[in-house]
Every structure is written in structure tokens, then in C-alpha cells.
């Protein structure tokens, strides 16, 4: 489909294709589960976009088009694995069990994080591109020292692939053979910067130069992403070291709700990718191969709507935090400037100081 050797198990038309090294291990029910996940996170995304348009969120970073990449990877994770996302991994967060309303706390600007990272084994969002990739390798070094059979998966984009931190992470992961899977969602754009400015050749080629395997997968094919991720994670858990997965996909929407992609890319490109929609192709498969009935799909749509409704309610109920909470967790131990700030704020009458 896209040139280059790329692992694909399902065509855009929803037809299975054979691959010499990978085959889908999922039952119809499991595939339906992935379909459901993708529909729900897409709905989460449309609801969030509309909440933003209505002034209820400061910003939203949509994932339309990238659902297969995220759900395929997210469902390949084992419970004991740990994940390090950027700001756009709503699908991963969903798979880790992060409640949707927690995901929106960042975008409602009431938190810089949003969820209990240790509870969900899913780190807080990282906005500075590339930082989390090194953090992930460090976490993986911890796994090694604990002798645990766990893996780390960390996410970054085609743009972030140019950052020194990501490249240093490759060096370290290779040197220490850490149990980490680098999952790069190449959605073709870093805001307005096309992939071609970050690299003239496919990104997954970088890995072998650092001494570990790189693989490109059709990021819009959830079955392929699932299998490729699963194998990389399994290998990492048992000492096989790092893998770079480049999920070749496309950002169907704007970079964020602040962005205007018409300034830098042409409609025709988006049109081409519409035909590669990650949800439609699984649906075709489910209908054709597993004879899934319309009612089942309707049920999922209804479930997604219910989720969206609750999400909206939850978001609207998220009050402006008491300003004095800005002093919480700035430090773990007592700190005179924190005490001073709290005192000043109480004196100013800005906060009841109840916190």
C-alpha cells in the first residue's frame, strides 16, 4: 500500500493479507473489542473537540486517524507494563484504564497531569517533546534491576524523532539492552512540518544503526499494530532488548484545536487517507468474516455516546481549582517559599486557604 516494507494484516478494504512473519492471533470477539475501543476513543475525541469549541476546554489534541495505532499498541500491553505518553495518547490512556474525565483535566487547564500514574501504570502527559523517551528508558533500567518480567512502552511522534533526547534514548536502550519499546506514531506531520523535513528516509531505519531492530507497521491496521507491538513487548520482557516500532499513520484532524491545517496541507492528502480509515476497515472485516450484526455496532455507538455524555457532565463539573492548590506538591517536603506563598495568598483573600 504505502511502498516500503510495512507490516499489514488487513487492507484498507478490510481484507486480510498474509505476512511472512506476522499473523493475527485474535478471535472475532477480541477484534470486536478493538473495534469498540477505537469507536469509543474517537467519540471521546469528537466530544472533546466540541467541548473545546464551546469554551469548556482550553485545548484539545485530536487523535482521529490514529485510533488503530493507539488501540493496537495499548491492547498489546500486559497489566504489569508501564507506559510513557506524550499529550496525544488518549487511546493508550483508555487502554490503561485512565478514566476519560481524567484525561481532560490537562485540557481543561485544571491540572498539569490528570491521573494517578502509578495506579494506571501510565505516566502523566509529557509536553516537552522527547523528554519522556529518556524517562522510559530509565524506568526500564529499574525493571532490569528488579529482575521483573515487565516492559515499558513509550510514545512519540515523527516530529519528536528529531530531538536529541529521543536519539540518546536509542543509545542507552541499546547499550543497556533495556526492556523498552519505542512506539513512534508517524502521523506525517509535526504541526505544519511535514515528515520529509524530519527525515528523508523511513524512521524505523534509524534503529538498526543503534543496534536494535526497527519495524514499520501500517498504523491504520489495528490487527498488525497489535501483533507487532505484542511481539516487541514480549521480547523486551524476556531480555530481548529494545525495538523501534514506526506506526505509519495520519493525523486526520488539526494538530490541536488551536491549529489551522489548511494553511499548510492540501485537502487531497486528507482525502487519500480517508480511504484508509482504521475503524472502517475493521468494521468491514467484522461484517464480512464474523457476520457481526448492525445492532452490535449500534450498541457500541450507543455506549460511546453514553461515555461522551458522562464525559461532558464530568468536565462541566470540574470546577476551577482553589488557587492555593498551586502550592500543593510543588515540593514533597516543607519549603519556606511555599509557606510564604500560601500565607500571602490567604492574606490577599484569593483563597480560603482551606486546602
Amino acid at each position: 500500500m504505502i511502498g516500503e516494507e510495512l507490516v499489514q494484516l488487513l487492507t484498507p478494504e478490510g481484507e486480510r493479507v498474509a505476512h511472512p512473519e506476522y499473523e493475527s492471533t485474535l478471535s472475532g470477539e477480541e477484534i470486536f473489542g478493538l473495534y469498540r475501543d477505537m469507536v469509543i476513543v474517537r467519540r471521546l475525541c469528537t466530544e472533546s473537540t466540541s467541548l473545546q469549541r464551546q469554551g469548556q476546554l482550553a485545548l484539545w489534541a485530536p487523535i482521529q486517524g490514529q485510533e488503530a495505532a493507539q488501540i493496537g499498541a495499548g491492547r498489546a500491553l500486559a497489566p504489569q507494563d508501564f507506559t510513557f505518553p506524550t499529550y496525544r495518547e488518549h487511546g493508550i490512556a483508555w487502554c490503561r484504564g485512565v478514566p476519560p474525565e481524567n484525561m481532560l483535566r490537562l485540557f481543561r487547564a485544571v491540572s498539569n497531569g490528570g491521573w494517578d500514574a502509578q495506579k494506571y501504570r501510565h505516566s502523566v502527559p509529557t509536553v516537552v517533546l522527547g523528554n519522556q523517551v529518556l524517562n522510559a528508558v530509565g524506568y526500564a533500567m529499574g525493571i532490569q534491576r528488579d529482575g521483573a518480567e515487565e516492559a515499558v512502552m513509550t510514545f512519540f511522534g515523527d516530529g519528536a524523532s528529531s530531538q536529541g533526547d529521543v536519539l540518546e534514548a536509542f543509545v542507552w536502550a541499546s547499550s543497556f539492552n533495556t526492556p523498552v519499546v519505542f512506539f513512534c506514531q508517524n502521523n506525517q506531520w509535526g504541526i505544519s512540518t511535514p515528515m520529509s523535513i524530519q527525515s528523508k528516509i523511513p524512521l524505523y531505519h534509524r534503529a538498526p544503526g543503534f543496534g536494535f531492530p526497527g519495524i514499520r507497521v501500517d498504523g491504520n491496521d489495528v490487527l498488525a499494530v497489535y501483533e507487532v507491538s505484542k511481539r516487541a513487548l514480549e521480547s523486551a520482557r524476556v531480555g530481548g532488548g529494545p525495538t523501534l516500532i514506526e506506526a505509519y499513520t495520519y493525523r486526520m484532524g488539526a494538530h490541536t484545536t488551536s491549529d489551522d491545517p489548511t494553511r499548510y496541507r492540501i485537502d487531497a492528502e486528507v482525502e487519500v487517507w480517508k480511504h484508509r480509515d482504521p475503524i472502517e476497515r475493521v468494521k468491514s472485516l467484522l461484517v464480512r468474516e464474523y457476520r457481526v450484526k448492525t445492532t452490535k455496532f449500534d450498541e457500541v455507538a450507543a455506549e460511546a455516546d453514553t461515555m461522551a455524555l458522562k464525559l461532558r457532565e464530568d468536565v462541566l463539573a470540574m470546577d476551577r481549582p482553589d488557587p492555593i492548590t498551586m502550592f500543593d506538591h510543588a515540593y514533597a517536603a516543607p519549603h519556606p517559599l511555599i509557606d510564604e506563598g500560601r500565607r500571602e495568598m490567604v492574606e490577599l483573600g484569593v483563597s480560603g486557604g482551606s486546602h
Partner: protein, 328 residues
């Protein structure tokens, strides 16, 4: 005198355009500065008019944006680097501190590090984390650099041109919350030298010094104070490093009272520096200690509560009351 009204964003855009027209060696480099015109549209239309060789869409790596600008400077080019947001300048910190700041010295004056690093800084736009920081003190503390900030469209238009023409490397801090505010721009001559402070409003009771976004807040505080019978003299520092202390000293000798306003936390900040310097220089004139109104010593908070972090009119007036409360 040809004047025209425009936003600060437009003024920067026009200033850049004029600098590029004047000098073929002037380049612009940064993330999304081309077709998009930057996330704030400061470079809007410039790639179209000056070409991809002069307005360079960079791969996504700040250390490289600055590091290659250094090489371009050695080759005789003058690059205006755009850092997309304040919180993303840190990957370039090493290149800025170790090369940009020191290469003129290391080369015994052979290299001219004529480059400008534009940083949209400070908060106030309701963004997510890392988009509202005030990193100016890091650069001000670094010998070899200069740091300036504009607070009006007119300053923006002129200071960006003066910065590009200047032979030392300049960290150019743009108060992003003021990008869309309009003001008069004099197209014929600059309001002052690049490193001059300007008295924005004369007053007699308290000298209030600030820069960037704080200047407007201070002016609003001065309006309120005036209705309460307190007269504030408002000084826009403009140059953060070096500080133009003469204007400040002159003001303090008149008022005897000092408040410094900044969005950065007060620890080891520009505010600390101004207070320390003026405490020494105006020891006999000071009728109260210099007081700082700053961001709090916490990571920039979620922006639903940022207005309680940033110095507000209330907090400025509170500080004014405090310095007025000292016996003289």
C-alpha cells in the same frame, strides 16, 4: 512622522520584514515558521516573500536550531531563531550558554555572534504546561548574552530590528499575551536605544519597574492607585540584561520607594537584581525596602488559576501599600 496602528504580532512581523529587506544575510529559522508563519503568525508571509532559504522550517530540535545558527553566524549570517514557546528553549540551553554566549570571547573577537533568539514568554493565554514560563533570569545571569523585552507594538517593531543589527547575541522575549493588542507604531525612528529603560508614566510616590506583559498591568495599577491618591512612576525596563539603571536610579531618587514586578518567581531573578542594585545605589534615598511582586515559587500552575499566580493589579497595589506603609 509616519505612524500606523497595529498589533504587536504584526509589528514584529513588519520589523522582521524590514530587517530582511535591509540585509540579505538575515535569516529566520524555527519550527513552523514557514507556511504556517509560526504558531503565533509572527513570521506570516515571510517565507513566501523571502524564500525557503531565508525562512527555514526547521526539523524539531531546539539545540539544533540554535547550534546551526551559531555556525551560520560564523559564516556571516544573522539568524533570528524562533523558539516556539518559552518552555521549549531548554533543549537549546547548552548551545546558548556554552557557544552563543562564549564564542565571541573564545575566538578573541574574531567571531561575531550576531543572532537573535526570539522567545514568546510569560503567561496569560490559558495554555497548557510549559507554554507560560519566564526564563529570562537564566539568560540574564549568563555573561555574553543580552536579554530584552518589548511591551508595546512600537517597541516590538523597533527592538527586533535593533536586535538583529546588534553584534552581540540577544535573547528577545516577547510577551505573548500582548501579541494581539494594538498600538501606534512610528515607522520613521525608534523610541529609544535598544538597552534603554523608558518611563511609561511619571509619578511621585512609588517607582514601579517591570517589563514585558507586566508593564500594562502596572499601568492599570497606576490608574487605580491614582484614584486612591497614590502616584506611581512606571518604568519599563525594556532591557533585562544589561539593566539600564540610570533611569531607575533617577526615578527612585524622586520617589524613594520601589516595587518590581515580574511573572518569574522571585528567587534569583531580575527582580532580585533590580532590588539589590538599587538598594545599593539609592541607599540614602530609599524610604522603604524594595519589594518584589512575582510569580510564586511553584511550577507554573494549571492556567485556570494562572491569574492568581501572575502579578495582578491587586498584588501590585498591595505591594505599593506595603512600601507606602514605611515611615520615612
Amino acid at each position: 512622522m509616519a505612524t500606523t496602528t497595529m498589533t504587536m504580532a504584526k509589528a514584529l512581523n513588519e520589523g522582521l520584514r524590514r530587517a530582511m529587506e535591509k540585509n540579505k544575510k538575515v535569516l529566520i529559522m524555527g519550527e513552523d515558521v514557514g507556511k504556517l508563519g509560526g504558531v503565533f503568525r509572527i513570521t506570516d508571509g515571510l517565507q513566501k516573500d523571502f524564500g525557503e532559504d531565508r525562512v527555514i522550517d526547521a526539523p524539531l530540535a531546539e539545540s539544533a536550531i540554535v547550534g546551526t545558527a551559531v555556525g551560520l553566524a560564523i559564516r556571516g549570517y544573522r539568524t533570528v531563531c524562533e523558539i516556539q514557546f518559552d518552555g521549549f528553549v531548554y533543549p537549546a540551553f547548552d548551545q546558548i550558554v556554552s557557544q552563543v554566549a562564549k564564542l565571541h570571547k573564545r575566538s578573541d573577537g574574531v567571531y561575531t555572534m550576531g543572532l537573535v533568539i526570539r522567545i514568546p514568554f510569560q503567561g496569560g493565554i490559558g495554555a497548557i504546561e510549559h507554554h507560560s514560563e519566564s526564563p529570562e533570569a537564566y539568560f540574564a545571569a549568563t555573561a555574553g548574552l543580552r536579554v530584552v523585552s518589548c511591551s508595546t507594538p512600537n517597541d516590538a517593531y523597533w527592538m527586533i530590528q535593533q536586535s538583529i543589527e546588534h553584534d552581540d547575541p540577544i535573547i528577545f522575549c516577547e510577551p505573548k499575551s500582548r501579541y494581539w493588542e494594538k498600538g501606534e507604531v512610528d515607522l520613521d525612528s525608534p523610541p529609544a536605544g535598544l538597552f534603554d529603560a523608558i518611563v511609561r508614566r511619571e509619578g511621585s510616590d512609588v517607582t514601579v519597574i517591570g517589563y514585558g506583559s507586566s508593564v500594562k498591568t502596572i499601568l492599570r495599577a497606576a490608574d487605580t492607585a491614582a484614584t486612591e491618591g497614590t502616584s506611581l512612576e512606571v518604568v519599563d525596563a525594556r532591557s533585562i540584561a544589561p539593566l539600564e539603571l540610570d533611569t531607575m536610579v533617577k526615578s527612585l531618587e524622586k520617589t524613594g520607594r520601589l516595587v518590581v514586578v515580574q511573572e518569574a518567581p522571585h528567587m534569583a531573578s531580575i527582580g532580585s537584581e533590580i532590588v539589590a542594585e538599587l538598594s545599593e545605589r539609592c541607599f540614602y534615598s530609599l524610604r522603604a525596602p524594595g519589594v518584589r511582586v512575582s510569580g510564586y515559587h511553584v511550577p507554573y500552575p494549571p492556567t485556570r488559576i494562572e491569574e492568581d499566580y501572575r502579578p495582578s493589579v491587586d498584588r501590585i497595589l498591595d505591594a505599593v501599600d506595603r512600601v507606602m506603609g514605611y515611615e520615612s
